[in-house]
């Protein structure tokens, strides 16, 4: 208990973070705990190295990209930034949709933002479009080695073309969203413990 409260005291701007991300106090504490555990030499921020040492991430085909997503600008991520990324995966709750204030910015865990997070994992050059080349790269990561390069390219072509509606040979975010229209993204991009 004592350590708990001391943690709470340590979290800088705990309230504003909570307001922004919608995390509960308990989740925030847990994340902070985790943040400090990942922060090897108590720098107060995380570097790429800190995340790369998580063993399971190394074997995750998208591990590097996900690590990268924590560092939108620069070499380090502080706790608010860390939490902000994780907030995408907070489950959508009823009160989120009910008490939505039109003036307030969309919560980080909205369907749109969840999708956008996934989208920017594909869109490496950040031009707002998943090009065929980018699609191919992701497919290469996802599909096992057992499929030949040629086949991969065919899959990439088809994938792009399937979603590509304006015919520019790339998938824009709108098209990306549309291609996942029928999927329950709110459910598939949420982790229960991040309430």
């Amino acid at each position: 208990m004592g350590s708990r409260s001391s943690h709470a005291a340590v979290i800088p701007d705990g309230d504003s973070i909570r307001r922004e991300t919608g995390f509960s106090q308990a989740s925030l504490l847990r994340l902070h705990h985790r943040f400090r555990a990942l922060d090897r030499n108590k720098k107060g921020y995380l570097s790429r190295m800190d995340l790369q040492q998580i063993g399971a991430l190394a074997v995750n085909p998208l591990g590097d990209r996900i690590i990268e997503s924590f560092f939108p600008d620069g070499q380090r991520v502080d706790f608010p930034g860390f939490v902000r990324v994780l907030a995408h995966f907070r489950p959508v709750e009823d009160e989120d949709t009910e008490t939505q204030d039109p003036k307030k910015p969309e919560p980080l865990n909205s369907r749109r933002n969840k999708l956008h997070y996934a989208f920017q994992l594909y869109d490496l050059d950040r031009d707002g479009k998943i090009s065929r080349h980018e699609m191919l790269q992701v497919l290469r990561l996802m599909v096992g080695v057992q499929v030949t390069e040629e086949q991969l390219e065919n899959i990439a072509d088809r994938t792009v073309q399937e979603a590509d509606e304006d015919g520019d040979g790339a998938v824009s975010f709108v098209e990306f969203t549309k291609s996942l229209e029928k999927m329950d993204v709110e459910q598939k991009m949420s982790i229960r413990i991040l309430k």
Binding site: R30, A118, Q161
Partner: protein, 895 residues
């Protein structure tokens, strides 16, 4: 029909009824000498009756489904039970005593396994494991709760004096009865829910529960039964502990048996490639062995078969041939449906036998009420707890459906029949109550659940076609979630699923999957593959129209599809055996252009060899009957040929001619051809070289595959051979039929005079076909000496037409720049290069789109194509064409 079936039945029934007491009259007196005719009913009686019953059940099913109205309102299970009642009544009337009960032995050993195997094998495993927590809770806690509360409440009812005193049963008896009546029945649930189409989550929870609760039911039943037999006074404290322990033994043991057999099954099918024919049998045998083994060890047999089906499916499906897959699927479905039908019918018949049951209104009504009430209460309580942990909570409507969907069925009936009357004096009352409960749940609840679901507006399952994007993104999401769980440091469901997938990929799949099959089992690949096949089939469906009437106003269609077909067939070839059935379907797609190719090549090579490719060509002709449409095809083709032949003037033609001569058969030929083409044309540029290298590579890999997998190819060849024979002759014929082409080997210019096709068909399309065809395909192997001309033609085209964006990938396969400037574009260009031979998805997707949406594109294209055609011919030197032909051909001939 029904009447006929009944009268048919009456004959053996009459015989069988008397059979136990006295021999049927027909084989009565022993024959003194040789008999012309002998009636040996008793020798065939048992199998004959089994076959008859199944026949009756199947006929009944057919009759029910004659009327769509009836089956849409009344579940089949209800109809079958009612039919069973009627049949039972007839049997009773004819034989004066009840026959053909649902024997517990028959039920557990023969009727139940197919149903469980079917449901386990075709269980959507992802969905199942996603909801495993909920399923296990309902199956274990729910069943225990139902059993104890129902048993205790009935005992309370008896204590309260509402049950007639002649029902002699203590608390243990009621608990025993509660344990057998409490389990939700997989057969009944499946029969009813399959017609209701509730959303997947709801279905998998109810259905999964009904499968997994078997272990609990078995344990409870056995424990209570032995307690009853021991007498309540003799039950020690350790016995209770043993009872609890046996729950784990029975359930985990059953699951373990199932998994062991799943492993064995997967491993066995890995080595069946030379004996494909027994593959389906293996699946059934080992699954059944799992069931029997579990039954023998008094473990949960249902759990064993479920786990066996669930565990082996992925590997077995990858290992066995496509035909075996289809066989397994249909045999399984047939057996399960058969067993289900027979079960419900026998249930109806069994109920008629009044000697077995004794009625007590208090007990029956009490049981019905308690069952419904405690089921609902249990569901609500458990759901409340579960919702604390579930990402997507189960709402009230779901709970109502779950409570109401708790159907009891044949398992309960078989268990109650198994009771020992000497140990359980109230058995007859229990039997009656069980029958009523089963009938009530299956008939009343089964009838009303559909309107209820409609009325409550329960989310229905919606089937949408899988798309590559969805599949890919779903995988991405999975990986993202696993990664986020890593970052958060919480090892939850996603983490473990990811771990399992890693393990599976690294070890299990390597061990259990045939190497050639391993590749095609990637899910994304699988979706892609299926989409391709679907597109190809739909193209076949539309194919006629495309060629005959409207399609030709869309110049993009035929050409694109022809490119697309190439890609599909290539893909099919790449993916090893996979789909011989589909292979043919798709082969038939290869229509006009392939024939064109075939005949062209045929002419060029002077009919020196019989490429296997031709069976394809013939196959397509086989498919498209000789009618006006085909003639049109031919005309289009001839027209194209003439144009093309204009360019075949010089010595290049002869090169091709001689080149193809020394080719041996099969693969060597192709390599030769490639090598020759390369040598003669002196291709040293990156593009051409890479491409041919790629081709050779494929050849080699295929060769390997053919050598190692000879049975596989042989298997697919078995149709191929037939077609080859026909094919060559037909191709030859065609060579003669297309008269103008006959003389083609002597190169001369045939003026593009207006042919029938030109009169009948829109002029542009014929051109368009050729044009885009050349632009997308020939580019692979444009030889150096041709390049400038080619580039000019393309660049002039591009400048003229400024093709719409989505056309770019195809039209600009060869960028309009000289070689030097092209190099920097290699990353862009090269990837698109192999595609020229593999371009199905883009092209078809686009074809569809251009058809549906972009009418704006069409004028542009139409303008463009005649142009291309002309440019094409003026600049295309023979070398291009010949080299193209050869390679193109040889690739094809590999099939």
């Amino acid at each position: 029909m029904l009447r006929a079936a009944l009268s048919l039945l009456a004959l053996p029934l009459a015989g069988a009824a008397e059979e136990p007491t006295q021999k049927p009259e027909s084989p009565g007196e022993p024959p003194p000498g040789l008999e012309l005719f002998r009636w040996q009913w008793h020798e065939v009686e048992a199998p004959y009756l089994v076959a008859l019953w199944i026949l009756v059940a199947s006929l009944a099913k057919i009759v029910f489904h004659l009327s769509r109205k009836v089956t849409s309102l009344v579940p089949e299970s209800c109809l079958l039970i009612l039919l069973g009642l009627v049949l039972g009544g007839i049997v009773l009337a004819v034989a004066k005593k009840a026959e053909y009960q649902l024997e517990p032995g028959t039920f557990f050993l023969f009727l139940l396994p197919p149903i469980v195997l079917d449901s386990g094998y075709f269980m959507p495993s992802r969905l199942f494991f996603d909801n495993l927590g909920a399923i296990l809770t309902y199956a274990v806690v729910g069943t225990l709760w139902n059993a104890f509360t129902t048993g205790a409440a009935l005992w309370g009812l008896q204590q309260a004096g509402l049950v007639a005193p002649r029902v002699q049963a203590g608390l243990l008896d009621f608990l025993l009865f509660g344990s057998l009546i409490s389990a939700v029945d997989p057969v009944a649930v499946l029969a009813v829910f399959e017609e209701v189409h509730v959303n997947e989550t709801l279905f998998i929870i109810v259905f999964g529960e009904s499968l997994l609760n078997d272990a609990v039911t078995v344990v409870l039943y056995k424990v209570c039964n032995s307690f009853v037999e021991m007498g309540s006074a003799n039950v020690q404290a350790t016995d209770y502990l043993k009872g609890v322990a046996s729950l784990f033994v029975v359930s985990l043991g059953g699951a373990a048996v199932g998994l062991v057999f799943a492993f064995l099954l997967a491993l066995t099918t890995r080595f069946t490639k030379r004996v494909r024919i027994i593959e389906p049998l293996l699946v059934f045998l080992l699954a059944y062995a799992a069931y029997l083994t579990a039954e023998m060890a008094s473990l949960s047999a249902i759990l064993a078969v479920t786990m066996c089906g669930l565990g082996c499916k992925k590997y077995v499906e990858a290992n066995i041939s496509h035909k075996s897959r289809t066989t397994v699927k249909y045999t399984m479905k047939t057996l399960a449906s058969c067993a289900e039908t027979v079960i419900f019918m026998l249930l109806g018949i069994s109920a008629v036998d009044s000697s077995k049951w004794a009625w007590d209104s208090g007990l029956v009504l009490g049981t019905l009420i308690f069952i419904l009430f405690f089921r609902a209460l249990g569901v609500v309580l458990q759901t409340w707890v579960l919702n604390q942990f579930r990402l997507v909570p189960l709402d009230k409507i779901d709970q109502v459906v779950m409570s109401y969907g708790g159907l009891r069925g044949a398992v309960a009936f078989a268990l109650v029949i198994l009771l020992d009357r000497t140990k359980v004096p109230a058995k007859d009352y229990f039997v009656a109550t069980t029958i009523v409960v089963v009938f009530f749940t299956v008939i009343v609840q089964g009838l009303t659940i559909k309107p209820l679901v409609k009325w409550l507006k329960v989310k229905r399952s919606e089937h949408h076609k899988p798309t590559l994007n969805q599949e890919l993104h779903e995988h991405t999401f999975d990986h993202i979630l696993a990664a986020v769980e890593d970052v958060v440091g919480h090892h939850g469901y996603h983490y473990w699923r990811d771990r399992w997938e890693q393990f599976d990929k690294k070890y299990l799949s390597q061990l259990l999957m045939r190497r050639s099959a391993y590749r095609i089992r990637d899910q994304i690949w699988d979706v892609y593959y299926r989409l391709n096949i679907r597109d190809a089939i739909s193209f076949v469906d539309q194919g006629g129209h495309v060629l005959s009437s409207t399609g030709l106003t869309l110049p993009s269609m035929p050409s694109r599809n022809s490119v697309a077909e190439t890609s599909v067939t290539n893909l099919l070839r790449e993916s090893g055996s996979g789909a011989c059935l589909d292979l043919q379907v798709i082969d038939t797609v290869r229509s006009g252009r392939d024939r064109e190719d075939a005949v062209m090549h045929h002419l060029l090579c002077g009919g020196l060899y019989k490429p296997r490719r031709r069976y394809k060509a013939s196959c397509s002709r086989h498919f498209i009957s000789e009618d006006a449409q085909e003639r049109q095809d031919k005309e289009v083709f001839q027209q194209n040929m003439k144009r093309r032949l204009e360019s075949f003037k010089s010595t290049k033609h002869n090169i091709c001619f001689t080149k193809s001569k020394p080719r041996p058969r099969k693969t060597g030929r192709r390599k030769d051809g490639v090598a020759n083409a390369e040598a003669t044309n002196g291709k040293h540029r990156g593009l051409g070289f890479q491409d041919t290298a790629a081709v050779i590579l494929t050849v080699e890999s295929e060769e390997e595959e053919e050598e190692s997998d000879s049975s596989e190819t042989e298997k697919e060849d078995d149709e191929g051979i037939i077609f080859v024979a026909r094919a060559t002759s037909e191709v030859l014929q065609e060579g003669k039929v297309s008269g103008s082409l006959e003389v083609c080997p002597s190169p001369r210019i045939i003026p593009p005079s207006p042919t029938c096709a030109e009169k009948e068909l829109p002029w542009k399309s014929g051109q368009g076909d050729l044009a885009v065809y050349v632009s997308s395909e020939t580019t692979k192997i444009v030889p150096v000496d041709m390049q400038t001309g080619w580039n000019q033609s393309i660049s002039s085209l591009e400048s003229l037409a400024s093709p719409p964006c989505n056309q770019a990938p195809i039209l600009t396969c060869l960028p309009p720049h000289p070689r030097g400037t092209e190099e920097p574009q290699v990353p862009l260009h090269l990837p698109s290069d192999p595609r020229s031979s593999f371009a199905f998805p883009p092209s078809l997707a686009k074809a569809g789109r251009s058809r549906s949406e972009s009418s704006a594109d069409l004028p542009q294209q139409q303008e463009l194509q005649p142009l291309m055609g002309h440019k094409d011919h003026t600049h295309l030197s023979p070398g291009t064409a010949t080299s193209h032909w050869c390679i193109q051909f040889n690739r094809g001939s590999r099939l």
